[in-house]
């Protein structure tokens, strides 16, 4: 018996994963660029930048909230914090459960119940994303107080990632997330059970 080791065509790499995150990074950069345009000079006194920073992060959070209510408002900005939901919806879609409407052979009640739980899940993610922006604002204040400035946009992006991982990690480890994520999967399965199980 002979063996052929595994090979993969480069096409198997989902380039869309790269492009989606690239677009999200560009959206993040646009947010920061707007802030830089409005920000006082580096030599400005604390009350000036303090106010500017607060106003900017208030707008950033408002943009996040808007993307919750209408994901088409700024899909690339929304993608910055809905990675988990997007990944979940892909998994759900592979089981034949659409995020948009029930299939003809699926119970509308089961699908609506699932959507209800998914809405709760999205809200939990949104709270974590807002908490991450609060944390990032706090970290920027601390850095400013220490006289530290960012060298690059990427450095700020990495700070934003760290803040999201921190607030998300706290949420993930909480009892509420454990209960809700279990309920989400159970509700999804409820949809499948009323339709045709995926093979």
């Amino acid at each position: 018996m002979t063996d052929q080791n595994s090979t993969a065509e480069p096409g198997l790499f989902d380039v869309e994963l790269l492009l989606k995150q690239a677009r999200a990074y560009l959206a993040f950069g646009e947010q920061i660029r707007q802030f830089a345009e409005q920000s006082p000079d580096a030599g400005a006194q604390p009350p000036d930048w303090d106010t500017t920073l607060r106003q900017h992060f208030d707008r950033f959070k408002a943009a996040v909230a808007q993307s919750t209510e209408d994901s088409n408002a700024d899909p690339d900005l929304a993608r910055l914090w809905t990675l988990t939901l997007e990944s979940w919806q892909q998994a759900a879609s592979s089981l034949g459960v659409s995020a948009i409407a029930p299939r003809a052979d699926q119970s509308a009640d089961g699908w609506r119940a699932y959507q209800q739980v998914q809405g709760e899940y999205l809200e939990l993610l949104r709270q974590s994303a807002v908490a991450a922006l609060d944390l990032m604002e706090q970290r920027l204040r601390e850095r400013a107080a220490a006289g530290t400035v960012a060298d690059s946009l990427r450095e700020l992006f990495n700070l934003w990632v760290d803040c999201n991982e921190e607030t998300y990690g706290r949420m993930l480890r909480g009892a509420e997330y454990s209960e809700l994520s279990g309920r989400l999967l159970n509700a999804l399965l409820g949809c499948c059970a009323r339709g045709e199980p995926a093979s």
């Binding site: 979940w88 920027l140 946009l153």
Partner: protein
């Protein structure tokens, strides 16, 4: 305030977009991405399982074969990802005769495969095949992650067939406070899941693993990728890992049902309450020498979950090896190549 001007940010975004556009050509020019680099031959097959022997790299390999039992989750080529990142090559270089079970890809026809099948049938048949082939009463067993848990069960049930047992990043106590996977599966209706889907889809497993750190694993990673889009070698390394991450076989329904309920949800292994078929798994029966390798920064199998073995196995020759890295780094990092295979081989060759 942030030290960046609008012009500077615009320039950085322009540079990022340019790298992205140029990287497309590098991706197209890469050709085949190979995973699993060490020469090997299939020596036994049963259903979708294949038992491989890796070509020895010394003239006289050690007479006692080493059987690697990988997890049912993900694919075992992580142990042999590329020439300079291969735990298997390190073991071969140290003079060991290395075999590995490839479980294949379960499909709908395998939904009734249970842990009884995996342990009493598949692992047992592979162990017997090697005992006969090599003329040994007992062989060396190396279980990886979930494969380590299966190896513990097997070694408890058939201690006479195992000379030395190595467990690597293996959960034993599933209810340590830092066990995120247990935390996530706690409220899942496992019976509903298996009754509905038959097998557990690999894509659901992928979601679970990515959801542990989504901003790094599904976001930042791809932004950082643009930095190496002009480096074909670095890109190949990235794509090998990427392929492995998303190469997730479905899990046979019956086996997943028992593993999720008995091990994750009810922590029966450490309580001595797991039954495989009609036989009870008693970790106290594990009296052969044991080397327990864990990763100090493991986010999937916390060290405490592995180290619990010390208190419940029956071996008087129990050794721990702590690797300073994480659950993936223990296979593929440069440090792992330098430290882990030599330590495992030295421990085995001394016994």
């Amino acid at each position: 305030m942030i030290g960046l001007t609008s012009e500077r940010i615009t320039e950085e975004l322009r540079s990022f977009s340019a790298k992205l556009a140029q990287g497309g050509q590098t991706l197209r020019d890469l050709g085949e991405i190979e995973t699993g680099v060490s020469p090997r031959e299939a020596v036994y097959q049963e259903d979708k399982l294949t038992l491989y022997r890796y070509q020895p790299r010394v003239a006289q390999p050690h007479p006692v074969p080493l059987l690697i039992v990988y997890a049912l989750v993900n694919r075992p080529y992580m142990m042999d990802l590329q020439e300079d990142r291969s735990m298997i090559r390190g073991l071969l270089d140290a003079g060991l005769d290395v075999y590995l079970i490839d479980w294949g890809y379960p499909d709908a026809a395998d939904r009734e495969l249970s842990l009884t099948d995996y342990i009493h049938r598949y692992i047992d048949h592979c162990v017997d095949a090697l005992r006969e082939r090599c003329g040994q009463d007992a062989i060396n067993l190396l279980g990886v992650c979930q494969g380590g848990t299966l190896s513990l069960c097997f070694s408890s049930l058939y201690p006479e067939k195992i000379r030395n047992l190595v467990t690597m990043v293996t959960p034993v106590d599933f209810h340590t406070p830092d066990n995120l996977l247990t935390h996530l599966i706690r409220h899942v209706n496992v019976d509903l899941l298996v009754d509905t889907l038959g097998n557990l889809p690999g894509q659901l497993l992928n979601f679970t693993f990515l959801s542990l750190s989504p901003f790094r694993l599904a976001g930042q990673k791809y932004v950082d990728l643009t930095d190496i889009l002009d480096d074909a070698q670095a890109l190949r390394n990235f794509l090998r890992m990427e392929k492995w991450i998303f190469d997730s076989p479905d899990q046979a329904g019956a086996a997943f049902r028992q593993f999720a309920k008995d091990f994750f949800q009810q922590n029966k292994l450490i309580k001595g309450e797991v039954n495989i078929g009609d036989r009870r798994v008693n970790l106290g029966n594990i009296v052969m020498p044991v080397l327990n390798v864990y990763a100090a920064q493991d986010h999937l199998v916390p060290p405490a979950a592995s180290k619990a073995l010390a208190e419940c196995c029956g071996s008087r020759d129990y050794t721990e090896f702590s690797f300073q890295g994480g659950h993936i780094g223990i296979y593929v990092s440069g440090r792992a190549q330098r430290e882990v295979p030599p330590a495992v081989a030295a421990w085995l060759l001394a016994r």
